[in-house]
Amino acid sequence: MTQIRTPEDVAREVAEGGLATQQMILNVGPQHPATHGVFRLLATIDGEILAEAEPVIGYMHRGYEKLVEARDYRQITNLVSRMDWLSGFNNELPLAMALETLMEIEVPPRAQWLRVVMLEMNRILNHLMFFASFGAELGAITPTFYAFREREDIQLAMESATGGRMHFGFMRPGGLKEDVPRGFIAQALKSVRQVIARLDQYEDLLVGNEIFKQRTVDVGVLSREQVMSYGVSGPIARGSGVSDDVRKDEPYLVYDRFDFNVPIGHSGDCFDRFWVLVHEVVESARIVEQAIEGLPAGPVLGKVPRVIQAPEGEVYVRAENPLGELGYYLASDGDRRPYRLKIRTPSFNNVSVLPEVLRGTFVADMIAILGSFFFVLGDIDR
């Protein structure tokens, strides 16, 4: 595997009449184990080097933005939770916030704090999933099972409250659907603390592993400039040293009351992205602990009219999804349905920078980079 040439080299060699090997077009996907769904990467490879990589998306396009124009808000809440299926609760939040803004609903404090608890639990769920899949993509299958075990505990806690394991449908404009059942808090606290306790082990398994470092350090470097110009957000942006976090920048709910850090990477390589991801789990767990500690009593649903009918107006609401900034631009003409709902999903912007990062890397690195971009197909195509 010493035949390492960039596309420019190949072009030059051909011009010089030298030995030019054929470039090969490799379709990674739409069905490929490393793409987490129907994502296709049109890769032009030269030996094991990627000359060009073009992400082809849209295989899972379900037309959410059009679909919601024919649904009332209650139904939309359940629809958007399916967009990024790993963080359903986080998807529901900005929609509820948008409606609350338009309708001037006040959310009771207990609902806000419970929302934070569940949002952060959902973030842990999401991050653990990518912790698992990233290991699996690099060939370490064991972290997958460990992470899923932890996920199971959190999921059970979430299920006891919401009834769902992935699509919680628990958010309502003005608060939450209902209060959490007895025992939920103890269960949530236990499961979250367990994750923290065991994360050390998992760090030994991956983060500290020499082979893992070999595969990730200095691989797939995403510069700050690229982050800025492509609108990349979330752990990926933070891995490149861009300290954007809506929770800190524009605290919504009660995030300004919690003490938490935003882990920030340094060099923007796969390792940093992964490192940020893992450490966000710790920070999320800290938030959950604090939120549970200070959970106020009271109702969980504010004064909400029977029919949710946003008054005429427009609003853009953004929130920190586990994968980045999720924004809903809601334009209402006073109907029970949105006039237009533009969704800005994090994964879409995040994968758009892929061709830049992938150019000139190995096929094997491509997998590491794809894995470290933590995208959810439903979130891209929506």
């Binding site: 010493t2 035949q3 390492i4 040439r5 960039t6 080299d9 090997t21 030996g47 080097i49 200095d218 691989v219 797939g220 470097v221 510069s223 700050r224 400039e225 490149s240 040293g241 060099s267 923007g268 390589d269 000139g360 890397t361 190995f362 690195d365």
Partner: protein
């Protein structure tokens, strides 16, 4: 009795070798040709075993089959081996090549018959050459040729590296490093 077994097996292997050797030159697909070559080489190794020259036999397998043909296949597959029938490898020098081949065969056969006519092949293990014999022979009476060959191979190796090496190889790592460097500069 034993000799009869050996003789019978010899003819079997000889047939295999001949057929696959013809296959090597007539196959229309390079990969098939290379695979026929594998059969030829293994057949030859079997004949060595029949003669209780185990060391040579396994050396043949290890070096030729395990390394050289693998390398050849590797190269062919990397470069020019589309699957399926692949054009004509024949060219105008077919006849000439046949004459040369016949001449080489004649000379070799004549030399072998001339020098080894009437020599009995060993028929049991006792008379066979062991690895110890081989080692002693190589490192005592034939040490000079052995070393010469080693040096020759080394020279070939170095030459191959020199030819294959080109300056300004850009690896993905160096690209990444350069990018990182650039990013860092911009960062500052």
């Amino acid at each position: 009795m034993e000799a009869a077994w050996q003789e019978g097996l010899f003819f079997v292997f000889a047939t295999v070798i001949t057929v696959s050797a013809i296959g090597v030159v007539t196959a229309r697909n390079v990969i098939h040709a290379a695979l026929f070559l594998v059969a030829t080489l293994i057949g030859a190794a079997c004949i060595y075993i029949l003669m209780f020259a185990e060391f040579v036999a396994w050396a043949q397998v290890l070096v030729y089959v395990g390394a050289i043909v693998v390398l050849m296949l590797f190269g062919l597959m990397l470069t020019r081996a589309p699957i399926g029938k692949y054009g004509e490898y024949d060219n105008d020098q077919k006849g000439l090549a046949a004459i040369v081949a016949a001449a080489v065969f004649g000379v070799t056969a004549w030399v072998l018959i001339d020098s080894f006519e009437g020599v009995e092949l060993p028929t049991d293990r006792v008379a066979a050459t062991t690895s110890k014999d081989v080692g002693e022979a190589i490192f005592s009476s034939y040490v000079l040729p052995f070393e010469l060959v080693s040096v020759l191979l080394l020279a070939a190796l170095v030459g191959a590296v020199v030819i294959a090496r080109r300056d300004e190889r850009v690896t993905s790592r160096t690209i990444d490093a350069a990018r990182r460097e650039k990013a860092r500069e911009e960062d500052v």
